[in-house]
């Protein structure tokens, strides 16, 4: 039968499993540099089959090519920081403008211009890590999105629905609300509950387990887990699928981010870093022995590197930058 001849003549295309084995060998050899026993075993594996050798040659040359390209970039961490930073930027733009499939509403002015169209549309608004943005909706409602937040709007002739899908927002009812409210009530929803403001202003901060609602003006009718409640200005509640309860006294000012600030009162350092970490990409941690240190103060969010640099002046800690985005705090020596 000519089958064997045919398959020999054709270029062998290594199977997925063989490519993965070749990658495995390459990484093992790299991590055990100069291990002659491992080198011999790898050579044996390559010799076992033509397919192995092809996969090996390709994987090795691909790896060498990537390494030499990256090493051609001068300066410590320049390649890493550039690629990380741009990947995040690109992801943000794609998510915002192309992949969401939704109509992107670039600016409030654009919306207001087309007053006939706004009655019936839906759109997605989102912010990236470290970004804060405000939107004036055509009905007069204003939404502020904190870092890494997203909302979907669903305005129809019957309702005005704002869905918080991620992060934190401040909703301020507009002046034109009184007339419109009766036939098109405004409602905000998230995975933990639903919130209907009766004029006013409130903050919603969604976390993994629950959502913190803080009313700063007016009243908000809250529904969660079969329970309802009217939250008044000055009150805060924790809302989850099982219901709502009064929030403990906060150790930070809930709405200070709107002014670009974190304002803390006797806050644990561990919690503080988690809070700062919401505003910057990468990893920000402290060692366990200093996590319970307390701090109070006003911190500016516009430059979190500078914010962190201030900490050793007031606390017995030191900063360790491994790369620009990997920062750990340790007890000062």
């Amino acid at each position: 039968m000519p089958v064997d001849n045919l398959s020999l003549a054709r270029r062998v295309e290594p199977r997925q499993q063989v490519v993965k084995q070749a990658i495995h060998w390459l990484l093992r050899l790299r991590n055990n540099h100069g291990n002659s026993r491992l080198t011999r075993q790898c050579e044996q594996w390559r010799a076992e089959h033509h397919e192995h050798e092809i996969a090996w040659q390709r994987v090795q040359s691909l790896h060498a090519e990537l390494s030499s390209s990256l090493r051609a970039v001068q300066g410590a961490q320049v390649a890493f920081n550039t690629l990380e930073n741009s990947a995040q930027g690109l992801g943000r733009r794609q998510a915002l403008k192309l992949l969401s499939g939704a109509l992107l509403m670039g600016s409030a002015a654009w919306l207001a211009r087309d007053s006939a169209a706004w009655q019936q549309w839906s759109a997605d608004y989102a912010t990236a890590t470290g970004e804060r943005r405000g939107f004036q909706l055509p009905d007069g409602t204003r939404i502020e999105l904190n870092t890494a937040s997203a909302v979907d709007l669903n305005y129809t002739t019957q309702q005005r629905l704002i869905k918080l899908t991620r992060g934190e927002i401040i909703v301020t009812c507009g002046g034109s609300d009184e007339g419109a409210a009766a036939d098109r009530p405004l409602r905000v929803e998230n995975r933990h509950g639903s919130y209907a403001p009766v004029d006013g202003r409130f903050i919603l901060r969604q976390e993994e387990q629950c959502t913190r609602l803080s009313v700063t003006r007016g009243r908000v009718l809250v529904h969660a887990g079969g329970h309802s409640l009217e939250a008044l200005a000055g009150q805060s509640f924790l809302v989850d699928q099982s219901g709502l309860r009064a929030a403990p006294t906060p150790d930070m000012d809930a709405g200070a981010w709107l002014d670009g600030l974190i304002v803390t009162r006797n806050m644990r350092l561990g919690d503080f870093l988690a809070e700062v970490g919401r505003y910057r990409p990468g990893y920000l941690h402290c060692s366990a022995e200093i996590a319970d240190l307390r701090l109070s103060g006003v911190f500016r969010l516009e430059d979190t590197d500078r914010l962190l640099a201030v900490l050793p002046q007031t606390l017995p800690v030191q900063l360790r930058y491994r790369t620009r985005w990997w920062v750990t705090l340790e007890r000062a020596a």
Binding site: I23, L62, H63, A72, V73, E84, N85, S86, L98
Partner: protein, 166 residues
Amino acid sequence: MSSPELVVQALYGSHHGWLNAWLRARLGNAADAADLAQDTFVRLLQRTERLELKAPRAFLRTIARGLVIDHWRREEIERAYVETIAHLPEGEVPDAESRALVLELLESIARMLEGLKPRVRQAFLLAQCEGLTHKQIAELLGVSVRSVERYVADALYHCYVLRYES
């Protein structure tokens, strides 16, 4: 004139204005939009397979989307690079010529790594650019060494598929 060219010419005649507007809405810039609209039709001319004409706008959108992403990637890399080298000490700042070369290299790598999960990409880059061991990377990312091994292997496999199988 061969028929593919006629097809593209017909598409151009009836959809060029629309495509221009579509791109402009995404790029927010008329000059870039005009360039990418031209590029889109040039790409069409270079295609050898039969053109799908049932949904010409969806088809044009698909090509234009890819070009928009290329365009953004270039912009983001340039922005991130300029931002990064601004932190370098004076003597280490590269000159204009090597910058152009480096941007091109970074762009090709970024294209290759696109679609990887952030953790996978970070682990891979820390190994490749910074030469960190898997153990060091595991500490930085707060994951196990086994996970890092898997991430780095996944990233290499991803690059392999792009290079040799597509």
